[in-house]
Symmetry: D2
Subunit: 358 residues, 4 copies
């Protein structure tokens, strides 16, 4: 089965290679009559864009998009909503020497194992460039969620060993965007910033984690037993480039707790059923319980480093590779809008697909 | 969208509540002509069954199954293959006092939020009993995989803070099953065993992690960009009861590494392309690379404890709950066959659904 | 992709061979809280059952069903609703001589071409017996539709050349069931009855058409451009055994009309927008318009005849076949509940899956 | 569920409104490594294009397309293959007077009933212009089929009462294209041509039927019980604008036959199993049997006529409509490539999705 679509009711299909004519996304199932805020789409895209700060890849991607279909007089028609992005700055010459080599921990070898052919000019579909369509679609999903009082905020939680402390109940997007590294804990952000500069100076890269909270999600979203809300979130987030782990609620740390400490007691807060703690991360039995949904995603260090590495070529002959070109020493700051986009897509899909009760 | 099916090509649909007439699974897309080893299905089911050891829930579930359809003269017909399990030992009286209470960190409240009604006799679909169909289907998938040389082995990696050291390349099912706790590191197993007994004596529960390796997976499985192999695995594993986290390859630990240390150099081993290390966990760019697939799953402590807990009833009035009945102090040993089953389902689906090349 | 499921939101999966242990259906996505009228399910099943009249196959099928899951205290739980039917009267000895022969215009040869194996004891999944699960699921769908004021009535429109005249706006189920042949035009019914008896006496079979009307369908159902309501109806109805054609509205006859005569003028009837004529059959641009949905299905003559026929065996050697056993000379009367079931399934799916508007 | 995708393995998603910025199609699941013949795509598009003959709508649509993604150095990458069409000649002023009126037997009213909003500049998604993406995708599917020896040819079978006689085993595309009306029976073509001119002179329109044959389809395609090959074909063909009926094999005519005359005797032809007659139309039990697949589609008369018609406006007030602009008096000649495209899409999907046997 082809794998370029995500979601059932709010269904996105992305297309395009990093160095082809263009990329884009078709959203099928966007509700009709939505007054689309294209400026908000642009703002989300700007956060994903490389080359806007000192910490990330200097590739110039204007990310100007065209709405090809689905929008009329400012409102969605309920028909497929299509965003098209042109690849402007797509000089492939830097990739020419890599044409027959498999870059370590990239998708070059596996793409050939799977498809037999490969667009060697960059990462093709495996490039982070592919996420441009996800972020655009996520921005549309975010507008649908905002109408229902749902707010999604992600931030860089840790870079390498530099960890932050952030209040999930209070964190705001403006606090996240106040630092270039997108960590609202200013002290931690400074340490992360320093680490990324150090790593870049070494021609190396570093990984880390993004945390995300969704506040205002109504109780009752999720479709047991296989489309539990955390299963859908995990699928969406592990589909991001470089994602290697996922946690919801207490995650791995919670596995070290006793049940008596981990259980979230129910309490009545002004007539609403809430839990005293939120180790469940807002999801119990695969269904949202009305508490904030909290999750984390692990991102491995970027595979493109500026040091010589052993590899083989297409004929299996040993070779040494030394990448050149434009790359991030750390994907984390740009991963923040990508994580938010996938969470928005999952939640909008769940919200719109909510089964009717009799 | 209803959520009780999993997989595209090898598609399983489970049905049944923990205390209803029965449960089961329909497998649509099982290849025709497979000589089904029902003894192997039974063996996998026996590992999932509670009440077979000292460490786990004493509920008696014979798990005798009937093959209702899809099998003729010992071979699969290619038509839906249906396994039916009867609920024999389903005394619901222990649940009667809980009828109007929401057990903390169970699915009682969210099930009502989602559906408006609930079978209060046990966990309904949220019960671990539901996984009986998954394990049966996983056993069928395992036979398909074995034909292609793929082997899936999981084990208890950690209980609370008691961690093990296991060689992913060598670990075998018999080594796993040699200890009741299903940890092939005998020293660690003894410590885990002691911890579980201690926790049980306290009327409490404890969580942990399961690791799993799939060896012999051919390169080329996975469907970018949304149905990357790790995304499918994450979805399958996070759909298990009590699962709260997922890692592939180096996972969260890898996020602390530098790219230069993390990258897996390609090498030519007797004509086959392999990687020197396997931080990628056998998957690069969402596609298998022929190396062992390695993953972990975090399981929270079981929610049913034998201590009084605060909660509310259906009217939102404060209440105190003291569960009785039969329960596991630690789900980890029984989670091992569940993890294997989901991994088998994902891999068989990917293998059978492999796109034809021209 | 396996093909034993139908519907997106109200999703049915049927299983079982005609001469195996049993058959059934899992309904995933049935709304929770529905007070299920099992007597109504039984009544629909009785109409499908062979052996209840003089005109049809004398096979005894009690069709007693068990609700295995999804129902608690008389109400649906919103979880998979499973109906199980046992195969009681399943003597396969009549099929023994046909074991290696391909019966003309049956599915024997194609089943082997597709699957390599075949349950030679009857038609397997190609048997009309498979529709027992569809009719049960359709009866559940009918209850959901009835709640919304939607009524579905089918009847035998023509047998061979014996045609009827029936008022689609007025026809009722009781009028349909008043004759054994299920044609509410009594004169036509008598002619059809005579024709079927004549054909049976010859050891032959005859085909015909069923018409169906759905009244009370709200405007706005259907999902262009591929899941237009008529496309979903056509798919459902062509999936019935022996179905060879489908029409909606004016169908083939309408192709002979001029547009000026065919167009349905809009009129305002007491504040509701209606059309003066209904050549569109209640569907325009793939979306219901609030007028009665009218369709027909063509059923070929039953393939099992009691005359010698040329064929080949599994080795391709010429052979002569002379079927024995129990068979219908005309499937039309029993096709009426099957057609209604599929129409109910399509409409309930469309109704429950109705996209939310903003 | 949104409805703008078709197919499981070879999955097409169309987007775009008739008078928006553009339209297109994303094909997900096109096999990698296919040397795409873009000239053949263009040739199929040319047949669909209005304004190329005297009989059809004079709208100028150059249909120049851009391949935005999925193609590299002339070969498909196995990634989403995207065709984009710009809307050049999209003057909407002719639609201005119709802005608040519901054109009889168009999708105006139902689109508003479904979505609440509507692009009044033309038919939006209901326009035949939408099929441009289907035809492009169908041309790609046709190349995949041709590699396997499958050939798909459709023709105009009847216009109004003017019927043709065509040998399904021999008919070729060049014979079809030899007449402007696309009927290979020259006498019939002349009569059809005269009828269409007459109807146009009256400001009226007329319907008819298209027949289609697929030769060389291997035995074994189709997925009972719901995705039988004829069910998929019916769904695809009924999703075409103006389609109102579908037949496979003997269709409605076959319902008047006796089983003894209708059954297709199996014969051994040079070691291959064939049938003496082909009333089954190449499909038995929902699975192809290796004989030519034969089907027909009924197309109603075009709804746009040049005569005054009664209707209502958006407020339900009576109004009279008199369409102006560019329209076909008969859609049949242009429907030929549309029918072929949908048949190619269904067959390529079935061929690529063929389940592996053990």
């Amino acid at each position: 089965m082809p794998g370029n679509s995500f979601g059932e009711r709010f269904r996105v299909t992305t297309f395009g290679e990093s160095h082809g004519a263009g990329l884009g996304v078709v959203i099928d199932g966007c509700p009709a009559g939505l007054v689309l805020d294209l400026g908000a789409v642009d703002a989300d895209l700007a956060r994903r864009r490389p080359g806007t700060g000192k910490l990330v890849s200097p590739r110039k991607e204007p990310d100007a998009f065209e709405v090809v279909s689905g929008l009329f007089e400012g409102r969605t028609l309920g028909t497929p909503l299509t965003f098209l992005f042109r690849n402007a700055d797509a000089d492939a010459s830097a990739y020419e020497p890599l044409r027959d080599l498999y870059r370590p921990s990239h998708a070059d070898y596996t793409t050939e194992a799977r498809f037999g052919v490969r667009d060697w000019r960059g990462g093709g579909r495996a490039s982070a460039r592919e996420t441009v369509g996800r972020v655009a679609a996520g921005a549309v999903a975010r507008q649908i969620l905002a109408d229902q009082g749902v707010e999604v905020v992600a931030w860089v939680d840790r870079v390498g060993d530099e960890a932050s402390t952030v209040d999930e109940g209070e964190v705001t997007r403006s606090a996240v965007d106040a630092t270039e590294v997108r960590c609202p804990d200013r002290d931690a952000a400074a340490r992360m910033d320093a680490l990324i500069r150090e790593v870049r100076a070494e021609g190396d890269t570093v990984g880390g984690t993004v945390r995300c909270v969704a506040r205002g999600v109504p109780a009752g979203l999720g479709e047991p037993v296989f489309d539990k809300l955390e299963a859908r979130l995990a699928a969406g987030l592990l589909s991001l480039p470089a994602a290697r782990g996922f946690e919801v609620g207490s995650g791995y740390a919670g596995t070290r707790m006793r049940g008596s400490a981990h259980n979230d007691a129910f309490v009545n807060v002004d007539g609403a059923i809430r839990t005293r703690t939120n180790h469940s991360g807002g999801i119990q039995g695969g269904i949202s319980n009305g508490m904030p949904i909290v999750l984390s995603v692990a991102f491995k260090p970027v595979a493109t480093i500026f040091k010589p590495q052993d590899t083989v070529d297409r004929q299996g002959r040993p070779a040494v590779i030394q990448p050149r070109g434009r790359h991030d020493p750390c994907v984390l700051p740009r991963a923040v809008p990508m994580v938010e986009a996938m969470v928005c897509l999952v939640l909008a899909d769940a919200l719109l697909g909510r089964a009717p009760r009799r």
